[in-house]
């Protein structure tokens, strides 16, 4: 057997982990050598990145029914990627979201990741190579943090937003691109007697507007991140703005962690 054959078998038989320590939530994924997902877990990041990484990773092992020694390599990503002591390497969330999406869809694609504190638009060409990426500016308007803030102002559980937007028979227009100014606008709309579901749909539109002003949307659009996982109606609303195909992978919240796990399998194969 040649060395490259042995390496191939090692890659296929091994298991790999990816852990995405985001600003709001930490996600972990375990895959086998073919890229099939064996387990995934999500939990709040909190203030201690390493602790969150340890806990979510242990939970993911239990979910996948896998013991630690079987994991050949782990890659970290996300805001806290440098805080994961057990990761063999780290990549940015931009690379990992792109890599994760390519697992499900062929290029060219435009990835929209709506995260807790930042949004990303990542463009990949027909070979899957990244052409460009954009992150939102310092302001968190249009991100998950924006929706959290607004839910708080409206005294609504976060989990109700998607249903409310979906049930709305219209929407209010919110003009500001500043979270604080938007909050003031929302108060004005409440005072003016607008139904809350129309306000929520207006907030969803505001999220989309912030994304649309970041970059052009070309080719097939793939949406990832926790916001789309919990608010899938956003992808339907995006259809008002583009004729391009719009896809949402299964488990969109863990695509970054999946991308990291896929990199882990590459790292092992490159390093052995």
């Amino acid at each position: 057997m040649t060395a490259s054959c042995e390496k191939q078998i090692a890659c296929e038989e091994g298991l790999f982990g990816g852990i995405d320590v985001g600003s709001c939530t930490t996600k972990a994924v375990i895959i086998d050598g073919t890229g099939a997902m064996l387990g995934a877990s999500v939990g709040f990041t909190g203030t201690d990145f390493q602790k969150a990484a340890d806990e979510i990773w242990d939970r993911c092992l239990r979910e996948a029914k896998v013991r630690k020694p079987y994991i050949k390599a782990i890659v970290s990503t996300g805001y806290g990627r440098n805080s994961v002591s057990f990761a063999a390497a780290h990549f940015t969330e931009i690379s990992c979201h792109g890599r994760g999406c390519l697992h499900f869809f062929d290029g060219p694609i435009t990835v929209i990741d709506i995260g807790g504190q930042d949004n990303k638009i990542i463009k990949l060409d027909d070979r899957g190579q990244r052409i460009s990426f954009k992150m939102n500016r310092k302001c968190a308007a249009g991100t998950g943090a924006f929706l959290e803030e607004m839910a708080l102002r409206l005294r609504l559980p976060l989990g109700d937003l998607n249903r409310l937007a979906q049930d709305a028979d219209g929407e209010v227009s919110l003009g500001s691109y500043c979270t604080v100014f938007s909050a003031t606008e929302v108060l004005e709309k409440i005072k003016a007697g607008h139904p809350v579901n129309r306000i929520v749909k207006g907030l969803f539109r505001s999220v989309l507007k912030r994304i649309l002003e970041m970059d052009t949307l070309t080719d097939t659009i793939v949406i990832t991140g926790g916001v789309i996982q919990h608010n899938p109606f956003l992808s339907e609303m995006l259809r008002d703005h583009t004729d391009n195909p719009i896809c949402v992978p299964e488990h969109p919240q863990v695509i970054g962690a999946l991308g990291a796990a896929l990199y882990a399998s590459t790292v092992l194969c490159e390093d052995t």
Partner: protein, 416 residues
């Protein structure tokens, strides 16, 4: 994939000499204020310094002071002081940091050189080629100290420099002479002006050679080194000390090239930086690029202190041309052609645009230029949001992630 965060910059030996030069410059200014002679002129960075030197003034550059406030991370503390007296957080943060520090009686010159306060201006001389903010900045001090404020108004956003631009500016400079004579107590001497222009020309030629060392592979100097070592080209232009210094620096860089010494060990990517430095983050950014094996080998900012047009035979006209040919004065099409040339001759792999919140004139990413250059040269671009001085406009982690992701993109591109 990123490597560790810790990485050390390679020290340029000539730095010791530069520090002595800068100390001597500021000590001389302080001494002049103590004695009352020679008179001190404040000048904008590409103002008519040659004329001021020729008139016997010692020349002080507030923009250098603004950068010092940024580099020492004091700017963000003093900017709000200026905001509170009516200077908006949206205008030049050199201005707001400098005015705020003045209002609180602070200067980083005290810690650096033992100087108790700013060398007060006997006259303030601006050139609007950088922006209008410099005029308003100097006007603050003119009101504060009741000293003369004069300046030249450069034509802006021009594609080609025309004769009427030159004759107008040259005339504006000549018109300053009576006031300068009155304040300095010296008569204008054309021969002295010619000598000063000759010194500026020699300085600028050497500075160009220093920057062109960056074209070597591997490059012996980084953008971050250059932002520090450009100080003599900014504050000692027109003086022989600057020339001696750049000869010394050039020898060291040429030695590095001869011996294959890289400023960034294992240089893998060569980048171009457009826009202002983020003064308070030079060290962190420099270390990040070193750890990523990427070197910013050329920049618009540092090359903006190359003035090829100086000509001792036509001092006024050549000064006017030098101050007008400047990148910042030109229109988008000129700027793009200029950048294309540097990018091609320095074998650039990717371009970083710094969009400085308070410096629109030095932020070239706002009218679609990154997209046009990227498409034309088929090079990846990254726009980072920040500021020259106001770190309230800067997100450390977001910038770090953007840069890391950009280098990952370059790595990926290379592997194809």
């Amino acid at each position: 994939m990123a490597s560790g965060r810790d990485a050390n910059r390679k020290t340029i030996n000539a730095t010791t000499e530069m520090k002595k030069l800068m100390a001597s410059h500021f000590t001389e200014l302080a001494e002049a204020k103590r004695k009352g002679q020679p008179k001190v002129a404040w000048c904008t960075s590409v103002g008519p310094a040659e004329l001021l030197h020729a008139m016997g003034f010692l020349v002080y550059y507030p923009e250098n002071h603004g950068a010092l406030l940024g580099a020492t991370r004091m700017a963000t503390e003093y900017i709000p002081i200026a905001n509170a007296v009516g200077y908006s957080p949206e205008i030049c943060s050199y201005l707001t940091a400098d005015v705020g520090a003045y209002l609180k009686g602070f200067t980083p010159l005290t810690k650096a050189y033992g100087i108790t306060g700013l060398p007060r201006a006997d006259i303030l001389v601006y050139n609007t080629n950088q922006c209008r903010d410099v005029q308003d900045w100097f006007a603050f001090y003119a009101r504060e100290w009741k000293v003369p404020l004069i300046g030249i108004h450069t034509h802006r956003n021009i594609k080609e420099v025309k004769d009427y631009h030159i004759s107008d500016l040259a005339e504006q400079m000549r018109a300053m002479i009576p006031v300068l004579e009155q304040v300095s107590g010296n008569r204008f001497d054309m021969d002295r002006l010619r000598q000063t222009v000759a010194l500026s020309l020699e300085c600028t030629k050497l500075w160009r050679q220093v920057l062109e060392c960056g074209a070597a592979k591997p490059a012996p100097i980084t953008f971050f080194d250059a932002t520090v070592h450009m100080a003599p080209a900014v504050v000692l232009r027109g003086l022989p000390q600057a020339i001696d210094y750049y000869k010394l620096l050039l020898r060291e860089l040429e030695d590095r090239i001869k011996n294959g010494v890289a400023a960034v060990e294992g240089e893998r990517h060569r980048l171009y930086w457009d826009g202002m430095p983020i003064w308070g983050k030079l060290r962190e950014l420099s270390q990040q690029f070193i750890s990523l094996k990427a070197n910013i080998v050329a920049s618009t900012y540092c090359s903006s202190w190359i003035f090829d047009a100086f000509d001792p035979l036509q001092p006024f006209e050549s000064m006017a041309r030098a101050y007008t040919e400047l990148f910042i004065v030109r229109d988008e099409s000129y700027k793009e052609t200029y950048m294309d040339e540097w990018i091609k001759s320095f074998s650039i792999d990717g371009i970083i645009f710094h969009d400085a919140r308070t410096c629109p004139n030095n932020s070239n990413s706002r009218y679609g230029m990154p997209q046009r250059i990227s498409e034309r040269l088929r090079l990846p671009v990254l726009v980072i949001n920040g500021d020259l001085n106001d770190l309230r406009c800067y997100s450390e982690e977001q910038t770090r992630t953007n840069i890391e992701a950009f280098i990952e993109q370059l790595n990926e591109k290379r592997s194809y």
